[in-house]
Symmetry: C2
């Protein structure tokens, strides 16, 4: 929701070209808050306000606008001014942003961006979006081994404005190979005159530029670090990924998994921002696959049509039986997919997982069976009379209701087994276990559940 | 999976009491890696190795052990040594850890922990686990407004070892009220001799000590900050929450939501670590609720038993119809729950959301209807003859199959509407929208789907 508190004041200041107040507005608050207060402005108005901020601050406030607003400003405001702004944005953010801007606009802009920045943009654009290269920034603090602590502090002080973080400093040789790492805190605590080479850590956690960004996030999380260095195959430092980007990755990957588990093909943008037909496609493709799969339920029911005529009450419990199996299966799938994602279990654990789920299926199936039996018995006894359908005696109802616990027990066990083994199998095959979506697992259990239910009915010689 | 590469060497070093090599092992690697190499050791062995590390490093390596290993060590090793270690652990981590240790052991330990640290532990333990207070650490860098930059740098240098982060410095008055914030980078770049009061930012993003940790994570994410100050109702600074804890919160909350959406009551620990009966309870409670709810499907089917006898083919499509509605509902619920969690939509947007979902339901329902019609027609025509059930003519099959697209259309629309409005409603009522789990939404649609299906059948005068 846009914060509209200050909009009238802001517009008045703009109309009066009130330099003092507009400068004050730009500098007084945290840039993110300044951006929030400007949400209700048009692209032109927002830019008119930003002109009163110095460039580094201007780029920072701009970075806190919604992506849509950023794109709108870039596409409508003077190209030369925009190129200047882009030159001052963090390297990783501007690459992501330019991806969203009309290609024709980007083509006009790029020649106006300073040479060095433009080369940097082109280099970063070459990396796939979901790799370390696609997330990293190229503005990191470099030191050499020969520097003393004082020289290093002075060196960093001079370029502090430019850097994404000054708190981790990377020690490179003259070929850009990563030789060591030193934190600003270590620098601060060291004896004056110490050489960087004697101070730096040499065992450094790194990621390769083509590593999956999910693995990058897991490493940063595991090692509790502020930033992780990204190296190429020759161990040259090409960028760093900072903690704030890691939070975004964790969030995005969690959302992606949630979508997959609900059989929605992941979206590039949020729900409200995604185009209508994109959503239709990302949902429809899976719904259609699931619907065609569900035809199997009709196929396995088909040979039993005569039985529906003979014992019509059997139909009442079909949805109940299959949904119990499906729910159990979804639970198992979610538990296992989450555990795989966090890295707690892998295919090697399949026997421990299956044994656990089998036992759990037996206990849960037993419990649900008892509840189901009671419900079925009450329902069969209490239901109002229907012409042509003879009332059941208590004995008959008891006998009929007894099919439910046996069926539920078996169906729930199948639910836990399928729900746990299928994600493990997908993971083993190198596929995303979350593809083994809950509706998919539930769909399989629906078919199996019907087969089990009919078999139990016949075995109990009710037919 | 434990890294067992160095275990034999480590055990040999221990047997030989090889001080030089054991010290080297403790210091050469990143503490997280050192901890990984020690995973295969028993609690006694691990502690024997750690004795060769100086206390700050010892506490750090210990912090990277699995929680189970940490608890085991605390419960088996000499209490005085443990109390010393606990005194050196980060305040937030040790409180979380002590929660997991046997109360009797904690009781023995606490009197041995230095006074100041013990008071700190007791103070932090008082905050609920899912609040800012439950996540924060109390070791932050304090400055006063009168200091100059040099004094401030010297002040921080002296206590750098103790602090969780030296990169954000908090300016307090003599009553501990938070007056301002300054980053180490700003300190570094400032003109020598500048007063902190002239340099510090006064518009600071803070959280209250009782704020939900999910809101805390959202704020840190939004403002891209390294650490967020936690204040009490009097705006006194009581702690800070650092970026690494925020990553953990984001991960844990995402897992919690995934569990809720699959109707598993969230677990305190991972799947493999959770006790069997805990899992049974957390799954069983929801399965039972859903099963009892599913009895409604039997109730709404009950009056139609005679119809099953007259047109037994109607039964074939019950699972297909209700699963399509349920799947659409799960998709909508997941999309909306995710958007609410990220903060993209709120109850105020309900009309935009409902309109969007209604349209989407019509398009998706139309598409699925066509596929469903084709499948139903083929099935009705192609199914093998069954004694007592007369074969359908092409016209009859066409007429029968025509119920499917109409039903699917209506059921899918209900799916999108229920799936989108129920989470919004829950959110509005102050409940976790993820409680509106996918199985729960699907269960409601099952009942509605059956009602719609039977109504469509009767309306088409097939009966």
């Amino acid at each position: 929701m846009p914060n509209t508190l200050y909009l009238p004041e802001l517009r008045e200041m703009l109309a009066e070209q009130n330099t003092a107040d507009l400068r004050e507005f730009c500098t007084a608050l945290h840039p993110a808050r300044t951006a929030e207060f400007m949400e209700g402005l048009t692209a032109e108005e927002a830019w008119a306000v930003l002109r009163y901020a110095d460039m580094p601050l201007r780029a920072e406030i701009f970075g806190f606008f919604d992506e849509d607003k950023q794109v709108e400003i870039i596409e409508t405001i003077d190209k030369a001014e925009m190129a200047d702004l882009i030159g001052h944005m963090p390297p990783d953010d501007r690459v992501d942003l330019l991806d969203e801007v009309e290609p024709a606009v980007v083509e006009d802009l790029m020649p106006l961006v300073p040479d060095e920045e433009r080369r940097d943009i082109l280099r970063l654009q070459a990396y796939p979006e979901d790799t370390a290269g696609g997330e990293m920034t190229t503005e990191f603090a470099r030191l050499s081994e020969e520097m003393t602590t004082e020289q290093a502090i002075e060196h960093i002080r001079r370029q502090a404005e430019e850097l994404e973080t000054v708190y981790y400093l990377y020690v490179l040789d003259d070929k850009d190979h990563l030789r060591g790492l030193i934190s600003f805190r270590q620098l601060l605590m060291a004896k004056p005159g110490t050489k960087i080479a004697d101070l730096m850590e040499r065992d450094i956690v790194t990621v390769n530029v083509l590593d999956d960004r999910e693995d990058v996030a897991a490493k940063v999380d595991r090692y509790n670090i502020l930033a992780i260095p990204v190296v190429d195959d020759e161990h040259r430092l090409v960028g760093i990924i900072t903690h704030d980007d890691v939070i975004d990755v964790v969030r995005e990957e969690a959302t992606e998994d949630a979508y997959r588990m609900a059989a929605v093909e992941p979206l590039d943008e949020g729900y409200m921002e995604s185009p209508f037909w994109q959503l239709i496609w990302n949902r429809g493709i899976w719904l259609t696959i699931l619907l065609v799969g569900a035809v199997l339920t009709a196929v396995v029911l088909q040979p039993h049509q005569e039985t529906f005529k003979e014992i019509p009450w059997l139909v009442l419990f079909i949805p109940l039986v299959i949904s119990s199996g499906g729910n159990t299966g979804s639970q198992s799938a979610t538990l296992i997919i989450t555990a795989i994602t966090i890295g707690n279990i892998s295919f090697g654990d399949w026997w421990r997982v299956v044994r656990r789920e089998l036992l759990m299926g037996m206990v849960l199936g037993g419990a649900l069976g008892m509840v189901g039996f009671l419900c079925a018995f009450i329902l069969l006894r209490a239901m109002p009379a229907i012409p042509d359908i003879p009332d059941m005696t208590a004995m008959e109802a008891l006998h009929a209701a007894a099919t439910i616990p046996i069926t539920l027990m078996l169906v729930v066990i199948c639910g836990t087994l399928f729900g746990s083994t299928l994600p493990l199998l997908f993971h083993r095959l190198g596929l995303d276990p979350a593809l083994m979506s809950n509706p998919f697992v539930a769909g399989i259990i629906d078919v199996v559940g019907i087969l089990i239910y009919m078999q139990v009915l016949y075995s109990m010689q009710l037919v």
